[in-house]
């Protein structure tokens, strides 16, 4: 979803000798597991799978690989696909067709620069390249190198849906993402409003929620609904502890805001790699609600949506309405807004500012954890899912107006929608770029954001 498009095209790792095709696959799996950190994002964020490299001892230069397509978590070989290789001058060197087991290998005349092109026309029906721009891979061979080539498959996108259908589909996706950004950034915005802290570690609260829910659900075996509720409570509690244990003492010491910002960056780095250390670099799904078929939304035949996405959107709306009511209608919400507006004035009117700030952290952390669970439900859970969301959250709250609760809602929603709709024009892997550019333009035109008050901020 928010993962930047990062295809691991040409495997750079050396390949040891392995005997027999039966054991090859297994050793490769183990090796892949061991190299998870190397491949990091590359192997993880995609539902379809890479053509993994088959290993063989060969002293001469060449390319090899196995074309597989992931169907229901199982790798199905893709046979009969032609791959043509040309050299740096464009002269044809040779071509090869993938066998019954999807494997292919081709000897090349020597070290140098080559381009391998997969003939899309020879793909079986229903299978397409995940990224059409990656039909051609350019690579260089060193002497004696037998290079693995990976092509990534996914659903066939050759039969493009009509523009209207795509707009509707992307709108639904955008609403889902926008709601997630809105939910997670309420805390970020309120924390900024009440304490002035630009919390770069907020993404890690999102990841924390997702990981705790995954652990309770997958490892302990609690149903996701209860695991989710528990994770939200734990996320809120951990966030509150962070305020009591770290940020409140720092505020007491009179640590500057910029110093605290740098501290939050250190904390983000520490937590993120702690997650990686504990959880590993793979993305993992929850035990329930794995792959669902899309059902027709409202029976109109316009938009397909999975039931879990429908539930996720519904829940998000309910939560956001509750948050909005809490902030506007309750005494505590009023106190929050008062502190965000002017902490000194709030303190002098008898509001316990530290308590309000603690509450903001707890609520913000709980909402972030909820967002993390939604991300895990829509995609899968990973160690840096929150960090990837962080810049979008910043874009959202800047757009909406820094420090206001409603600004975060509106801005996050708009950013999510914009990101998905922008894929109509820009390549999917660059969709976040558009959102970040919008951020820059907003700062130029209306620096206080949509809902922010016009005031001198320079």
């Amino acid at each position: 979803m928010v993962a930047p498009g990062c295809l691991h095209s040409v495997g750079p790792h050396p390949v040891p000798t392995t005997p027999g095709p039966a054991t090859q696959e297994r050793t490769l799996r183990q090796r892949t597991a061991a190299h998870v950190i190397l491949l990091l994002l590359a192997t993880t964020f995609f539902a379809g799978t890479a053509g993994t490299a088959s290993a063989q001892e060969d002293r001469s230069e060449g390319i090899r690989g196995t074309l597989t397509n992931e169907v229901d978590d199982e790798d199905v070989p893709v046979a009969g696909v032609e791959i043509a290789v040309v050299d740096a001058d464009g002269a044809a060197i040779g071509d090869v067709t993938s066998g019954e087991d999807g494997s292919f290998s081709l000897d090349l005349p020597g070290p140098g620069e080559y381009t391998a092109t997969l003939d899309v026309e020879t793909l079986p029906e229903g299978i397409g390249l995940r990224d059409e721009d990656r039909a051609s891979l350019t690579f260089s061979l060193t002497p004696g190198q037998n290079r693995p080539l990976n092509f990534f498959f996914g659903e066939d996108t050759r039969q493009r849906a009509s523009t209207t259908d795509r707009v509707l589909q992307l709108t639904v996706e955008g609403i889902k993402l926008g709601l997630i950004i809105a939910i997670t950034s309420v805390g970020l915005s309120l924390i900024y409003g009440t304490t002035g802290l630009t919390n770069f570690a907020h993404g890690e609260l999102v990841t924390f929620g997702g990981l705790v829910a995954w652990y309770l659900n997958f490892q302990v075996g609690i149903p996701l609904v209860w695991a989710g509720l528990l994770a939200i409570a734990i996320g809120g509690g951990a966030s509150g502890l962070l305020d009591r244990g770290l940020w409140r003492p720092l505020r007491k010491r009179g640590t500057g805001l910029i110093a605290m910002l740098v501290v939050s960056i250190g904390l983000s780095l520490l937590l993120r790699y702690l997650f990686l250390y504990q959880f590993g670099g793979r993305t993992r799904p929850f035990a329930e609600f794995g792959r669902q078929r899309q059902v027709d939304f409202l029976g109109l035949g316009l938009v397909g949506i999975t039931p879990k996405d429908m539930v996720s959107i519904g829940l998000s709306v309910v939560v956001l309405v509750v948050v909005a009511l809490l902030v506007t209608r309750t005494r505590m919400g009023k106190a929050m807004r008062a502190v965000a507006d002017n902490p000194d004035l709030a303190a002098s009117s008898g509001i316990d500012v530290q308590r309000v700030i603690l509450l903001v952290w707890v609520v913000g952390g709980a909402l972030a954890a909820f967002g993390g669970i939604l991300v895990g439900l829509g995609e899968e859970v990973s160690w840096q899912m929150g960090f990837q969301l962080l810049l979008l959250m910043f874009a959202g709250i800047t757009l909406g107006g820094l420090g206001t609760a409603f600004g975060a809602l509106v801005g996050g929603f708009v950013i999510g929608l914009f990101i998905n709709l922008s894929t109509l024009v820009v390549p999917t892997e660059l969709k976040n770029v558009g959102a970040l550019l919008v951020l820059a333009v907003v700062l130029l035109v209306r620096p206080q954001g949509i809902l922010g008050r016009a005031e001198r901020v320079g």
């Binding site: 095209s9 590359a42 990656r134 250190g266 937590l271 702690l274 810049l391 976040n432 951020l439």
Partner: protein, 403 residues
Amino acid sequence: MDWGAIIENGLRAAFGLEAAYFALAAIGLNVHFGYTGLLNFGQAGFLAIGAYGMGISVTHFGTSLWVGILVSILAAVVFALLLGLPTLRLRADYLAIVTIASAEIVRLVFRSARFQPVTGGSAGLQNFAGEFYRINPYSPGRYRLEAIYNGALGPFDVVRGLLALALLWIVVDRLAPGRLPGSRRSPQAAAGEGREVIGVREMVLLVIAALILVAGLTPVSFTQNRMWILTVGWGLVVITSLLVFLLMRSPWGRVLKSIREDEDAARSLGKNVVSYKMQSLIFGGVIGSLGGLVFVIGNQSIQPDNFGTPITFFAYAALILGGTARVFGPIVGSMIFWALLSVAENGLQQARGAGYISNDLLTATQVGQLRFMLVGAGLMALMIFRPQGIFGNRREIDLSVRR
């Protein structure tokens, strides 16, 4: 455990390519953050622009390497203008958000499959540094940091000896102000600082002096190509530091520092604050792009994912460790930062190999992750307990007075 190898690798890291690269990145950040108070969290973007400006010119447009380097510098200037225009009029944290976002944009665009013919996509660019190594003055072979190891004194030993002497002189001068001939420190001024007998600074200086001497006894050596890029890299570090030193003593530098201390006061004295900030952003960004150039020419390869956001945070850690708003801060910070990382990583790997730490507790890949955790924890601890780093002046770095 092979302590000799651990120390040797630590020393190699302190003088190696990464240390020179991060020193340049941190010198640029020092101009931004240390002297002007600009929160630039997109230094990785400047590094990437420096690397790709040259790489694309050479590999795609077939220009010579030197033209490519000029393109890199120009591209860094343009990038600074693009970053600065929307944000320099706004509050400091807006710049932080926009710069970190821009650095990500730059990386995503460079690694995008759409521009693969130009940027090489996620595989990056290679084969551009030939011209640089063709003028390598070092003849083939391995070069040690010194000659004591070979039983004869060489030019490196003289340089090392002088460096160690200079450090010792500084320490003695700090501990007994005004006693040494030519000392500019007066005992009264030192008393006014109320310093402890021997502080962190003095201890670090002594350790560095000792290590510089010890380097002569270890077999740390580099190939002729590495030696050549290291000479150029550290040469650039010295030149840019000298430039920063002179500029910060000039009226121009004083305006930058006054903006850091109180923007409104500087404005009320008729200074065009936005223009000065922009000049600072460009100056520091160009220094950063030089760092990117040194790194990719040294590696002879450009990988887009080498320029992720953690790189900026590493550079900040190195800068704050050494001491912000100090000319030597980023240099010493970067050397110590990489030496510490290397010692930590090698120490853990060796402890694993020797069986002190079981494989269940810590796998080989997890050692690398532990490294990032250490940087994060170190950055927090530094900022909380010693924001001035090793050499900084706490009063000058006291960020709480800003805003």
